[in-house]
Amino acid sequence: MKTNYNEDIRLFKYRSTFFWYLALVIGCLILPLLLDEYLISQLTFICMYAVAAVGLMLLTGYTGQISIGHAAFFAIGSYASAILTTKGVPFILALPAAGILAGIVGVIIGRPILHLTGLYLAIATMGFAFIVDEILVRWESLTRGNMGFYVDPPSIGPFIIDTELRYYYLTLVVLILTLFAARNILRSPTGRAMIAIRDSEVAAEAMGINLAKFKTIAFAVSAFFAGIAGSLYAHKLFFINPESYTILLSIELLAMIIIGGLGSLHGAVFGAAFFIFLPQVIIMTKDYMPLYLQNQTGLEPALFGLLIVLVMLFEPMGIYGRWLKTKFYFEMFPLYKKDSFKREKKYQKAERH
């Protein structure tokens, strides 16, 4: 039982929650010592995509605004960071600058289009992404167009981040900071206003929430995180060109948060992990499959696609929904009933409109 309001605004509800997260962070720090370079680099990609997915989650999962143009913010972050570091700006400044530039573009773009809703907004953001893509190709004096752009490994002061392990730790730190920032926004008036807009625009307006303003804030914050992720991406790959930022990337980000579970930050991280790790797992299990399957061409993408379909069919709340149910099972053991979650489902079906 809570005895004062301070307990209500803490980041971690219970002391035990804090220790579990601490254990998770320590696990993430130790894990790469057991893995080879390739797998460490995959972990790096998970952290990187998770940063962008958290950003998109704030916009789509919490504010209810769909974007299929986030590859553009990712690209803006990449190029801003690449250009700034080649001009001699230290990475430690170029990284936030990449995010801020993406955020500013987000405000400029978001303001006029955010009164659109649903798929109409999605298509408008897609149009914006096409424009950015075209600019990256054509503005050769700045971006070197289709020739691409070489990027140096980042350094913080004299410390050069040039190994897989070091880069993994960098992205992990950025991811943790991102999660902190997102959590803080969500437990403050801005975060609540975002959720309010998602659940009922009329009621939000009647509460005094300026729809245009808060949608734009959500868009800008979301673009900021996509920009940060883009910067990390550029310095990881050492080479960027406009082909890396197609609409496919935007849709992958959207798929990550839907598969992970809309409306939860866990979901953003789960979704990123699902997208990066599952293809690896499929390749690894390939050796144990019957021979005629092993030799089947296009097996990995087909299995990957099949698994996405299955997750959507059997767990519409995403991986986070499954996680909650599993946790509930252990908390309630042995009293867990299979029907515990049925009621909620029925309620949703009987909802008034």
């Binding site: 926004i185 009922s200 009621a203 307006e205 804030i217 949703q348």
Partner: protein
């Protein structure tokens, strides 16, 4: 001078005159009810006050300030709170979060201080909770504090919506059919709360309602509308027994016979 004035308002949708030259004054500290059959234009008045629709003619004046030209979100900042006929709660969040959302217009933080959850943001969060707890106390919502709104029964959702409006610390409270869908017991609770809101919290109430017994019990004055026009306004007893009002609700006598 009247606290809230509605001056000769008209609005039409296509060829339909939803409101036609309606005027009334609400005095500070009273409960003023608007009644009328379905489609009479009652909820349209609220939607015009909230600026969801633009008036064709006329104006709303709150404490001598014309409020029929401001932006929709500024209506709340003027101190006007409302509930909706078909519950418009933020249904995927908890009761507590819904109530705290009522505090939105009182916030002092912005997204930059919130990212760091600075001490001033923390202080503000604590204050919001204190206010929300007052409302929870006032409306007996303790049992539902941490529950998601979507899982609550209809009557409780209506109460939460009333609470959310009260959390805004409004001067004027617009209630759109607060008793619809409530059982007898819940309706009784509601009339007690209404008089408490009026007397203890000193909030003026503008009420749209269908339940005549409820209107008679709580209202100080009543306005009857039909087809967007005023039939009569006055004391509850006078209005409810007026032949035109009876006719609007029950139809022509000979039709019944």
């Amino acid at each position: 001078m009247a606290f809230f004035r509605t001056e000769n308002i008209s609005i039409s949708f296509g060829g339909l005159k939803a409101l036609n030259g309606v005027s009334f004054n609400v005095r500070k500290g009273e409960i003023f009810s608007v009644i009328g059959p379905n489609g009479a234009g009652k909820t349209t008045i609220f939607n015009c006050i909230n600026r969801f629709y633009d008036l064709d003619e006329g104006a709303f004046v709150l404490e001598d300030r014309v409020i029929s030209k401001i932006k929709p979100h500024e209506v709340a900042e003027m101190g006007i709170a409302r509930t909706f006929q078909n519950i418009e709660l933020f249904k995927n969040t908890t009761v507590l979060d819904n109530l705290i959302l009522g505090r939105h217009r009182r916030r002092r933080s912005n997204v930059f201080t919130e990212i760091f959850f600075s001490p001033s943001v923390q202080k503000q969060e604590l204050e919001s909770r204190e206010k929300a707890e007052e409302i929870i106390d006032f409306l007996d919502l303790e049992a539902y504090r941490e529950q998601r709104v979507i899982n609550l029964p209809y009557g409780v959702q209506k109460t939460v919506e009333l609470g959310r409006a009260l959390a805004m610390d409004p001067k004027l409270l617009l209630l759109d059919e607060p008793s619809s869908g409530l059982n007898v017991e819940e309706t009784e609770d509601l009339s007690f709360w209404m008089s408490d809101i009026k007397e203890e919290l000193d909030i003026t109430i503008l009420l749209v309602e269908h339940n005549m017994r409820f209107v008679q019990a709580v209202s100080d004055r009543v306005l009857a509308l039909d087809f967007g026009q005023t039939i009569i306004q006055g004391s509850p007893a006078d209005v409810l027994s007026h032949p035109e009002v009876m006719k609007a609700y029950l139809g022509e006598e000979d039709v019944v016979a």
